[in-house]
């Protein structure tokens, strides 16, 4: 698998991407390219395989560059937080991973992004199939106007997945820490629930088909503090089984729940990516330190 990846790096498209980037800044040097190593050193946990690897990813919306030369590796079964000011491209990057950017006519993605060694931007990759492996939870809770039960089984229905739906619904809702609150009202509309419950329902819906990666785009930003804390606990729990990538504008949230933190700054630049503890206690880049300590952004 890794052999294939190395080969990919030397494609002509790559070269073009490199040549196009304005300046290979010092910041780029700071980016830890091998996260799995650093995890080994700092926390002493077992070595984690890379699930998502971005190489020189650029994104444009028409002529505006939203992301510039993003290279990073996201390890499995951990929480990776993406932080940065508004418009820094962190959500755009998240949407590159499951190719949701395909739905935006003006968006154009260049570079390579691998899911377990397969470049998801290869011509033969079906974005629909990709999204079935990479679940997503959105900023605003968006349950379907269907029953709680049907919301959870939606992914299974569209994939024609068989199985014991009752059991999957129960398991997914339990994992999403919602079962105890809704188990007697599964036939009621998902819209009857409170905002925090709706978001947990969306998480249950996303994990029911058992995806490999779970993308979360500011999942708690529309919620009250109590619901936020429930979601945060849940995310840490979910990272035992899934690779969670979460975008947040809330630095404390990133510090609380993530294992790695990627700091994006204005201009769509990934300035630093490292263990969360290191980013918050001893960042390499002055700009990151300024951002984290609230000097700007």
């Amino acid at each position: 698998m890794s052999q294939q990846n190395t080969d990919e790096q030397t494609t002509s498209e790559q070269d073009a991407g490199d040549g196009g980037s304005p300046d290979p800044t010092d910041d780029e040097m700071l980016i830890q390219t091998d996260v799995s190593e650093s995890v080994d050193e700092t926390s002493g946990t077992r070595r984690r395989e890379t699930v998502v690897r971005a190489e020189h990813v650029d994104v444009w919306y028409d002529d505006n560059q939203a992301l510039s030369d993003i290279t990073m590796e996201i390890p499995e079964q951990s929480v990776t937080a993406m932080v940065g000011p508004s418009g820094c491209g962190k959500s755009t990057f998240l949407r590159c991973i499951n190719r949701m950017n395909d739905l935006i006519d003006s968006a154009r993605v260049e570079g390579d992004l691998y899911l377990r060694g397969k470049n998801v931007y290869d011509d033969d990759v079906d974005p629909v199939a990709l999204r079935r492996r990479v679940g997503m939870v959105f900023q605003k809770p968006n349950p379907f106007p269907k029953s709680i039960y049907d919301n959870v089984t939606y992914g299974l229905e569209i994939q024609d997945k068989g199985g014991d739906y009752d059991e999957i619904v129960e398991r997914s809702l339990k994992r999403a820490a919602l079962w105890d609150e809704v188990n007697d009202q599964l036939d009621e509309s998902g819209l009857e629930l409170s905002g925090g419950q709706q978001q947990r329902l969306c998480i249950a819906r996303a994990i029911a088909p058992d995806p490999e990666v779970l993308l979360m785009d500011e999942p708690a930003s529309a919620l009250d503090p109590v619901a936020t804390s429930q979601i945060e606990d849940l995310i840490e729990e979910l990272a035992r089984d899934y690779t969670v990538v979460i975008v947040t504008h809330n630095m404390q949230q990133a510090a609380r729940i993530s294992d790695q933190t990627a700091v994006f700054l204005t201009g769509g630049e990934l300035v630093e990516f490292d263990d969360t503890q290191k980013i918050f206690e001893n960042p390499e880049s002055q700009r990151v330190e300024d951002y984290i300590t609230g000097k700007f952004g």
Binding site: N98, M100, L103, D105, V128, A129, L130, R131, R132, R133, G135, M136, F138, K140, N142, P143, F144, P145, K146, Y154, G155, E157, I158, Q159, S189, L191, C202, R205, A206, P209
Partner: protein, 319 residues
């Protein structure tokens, strides 16, 4: 500013100034005009129709021939010359036009709406939307003409026994006529479905088809139903096209028998045109039957509108 000035300034009563009162009255009168018109029409229909029926005619001070309300509502023969006023012959014809046009307009209209709302590129939309508006703007007499000159002969090549005037061609043309209405109201309802729901679907790995049929259509169902009912009300009230294409011979046909559609018949609206353009004399029984048919037509469309409102209220989209 002294206290007096402040007092004067704060108590100017701008809301009740002459200009405000004048404009408010003007706008109220404009809005009231439509209500007055509606009420006048209803009163006229009811009073004139009352003169037609034996049971109510004495109340209106009418002497002379009248018709039994039971015969009118249950009779199946419409023959003015022999004084037979069985409105069912006309109602079934209208029902046939409604069913026939629904069969054409509902699937095509909804499919068009789904295409416009979910699939079409901005470019395709910019061509299709105006085309639909033009279709909606074609004078209905042109549609009738079109049915008689093109649709019926074309049908004749496939079904030789079809009459020159037939319900099939009238249904087809009314169906085409109401497609824009179904499409545009349904599309409005589908476009109103928040994009977050589509994103949720796509994020789960749904295809365009999954999202269109499993998310967007269910979420906009009440709007889609409203479009059906409004379009069918239009089909029921449609006059010119059916007058031209369906013929002038009233007969009682079974709307559920496909063979019925090959024959000509006289829908309610066409019967009214026939009465008005014929040589009936004002004040006679035939003349009064005009209002009786009009009243039946009005009640049917009113009921449809009430159903439409009920559906919209009861099944209002909640996203």
């Amino acid at each position: 500013m002294s206290t007096d000035e402040l007092e004067a300034d704060l108590t100017r009563q701008t809301e009740n100034s002459p200009r405000e009162l004048l404009t408010r009255t003007f706008f109220f009168l404009c809005a009231g005009l439509s209500i007055v018109t509606t009420i006048s029409i209803v009163v006229l229909l009811v009073t004139e129709a009352a003169k037609f029926f034996t049971i109510t005619a004495p109340l209106m001070g009418v002497t002379g021939p009248t018709a039994s309300i039971v015969d009118f509502l249950t009779g199946t023969t419409w023959q003015i010359n022999s004084q037979e006023f069985g409105v069912l012959a006309l109602v079934t014809s209208t029902l046939m036009i409604t069913i026939g046009s629904a069969v054409i307009a509902i699937p095509l209209g909804v499919a068009t709406a789904i295409y416009l709302s979910e699939y079409a590129s901005t470019q395709a939309r910019s061509v299709l939307k105006p085309a639909l508006e033009i279709l909606a703007g074609v004078p209905t007499v042109v549609y009738g003409f079109f049915a008689l000159i093109y649709i019926t002969p074309a049908l004749g090549t496939v079904i030789p026994q079809i009459g020159t005037f037939n319900m099939l061609s009238a249904s087809i043309v009314v169906g085409i006529m109401i497609i824009p209405m179904v499409a545009s109201i349904s599309e409005d309802a589908m476009s109103a479905v928040p994009d977050e729901l589509r994103q949720a679907g796509y994020g789960m790995g749904a295809t365009k088809f999954d999202v269109a049929t499993g998310v967007v259509v269910p979420a906009s169902l009440s709007g889609i139903f409203s479009s059906f009912i409004l379009a069918l009300s239009r089909a029921i009230g449609e006059t010119m096209a059916v007058t031209i294409a369906a013929g002038s011979r009233a007969q009682f046909l079974n709307p559920l028998n496909p063979a019925s559609y090959l024959e000509g018949a006289l829908p309610m609206t066409a019967a009214m045109v026939q009465l008005l353009t014929g040589d009936i004399t004002g004040g006679g029984l035939a003349y009064r039957s005009l209002f009786a048919i009009g009243l039946v037509l009005f009640v049917i469309t009113l009921v449809m509108n009430i159903i439409s409102d009920f559906v919209a209220q009861r099944y209002r989209e909640e996203y």
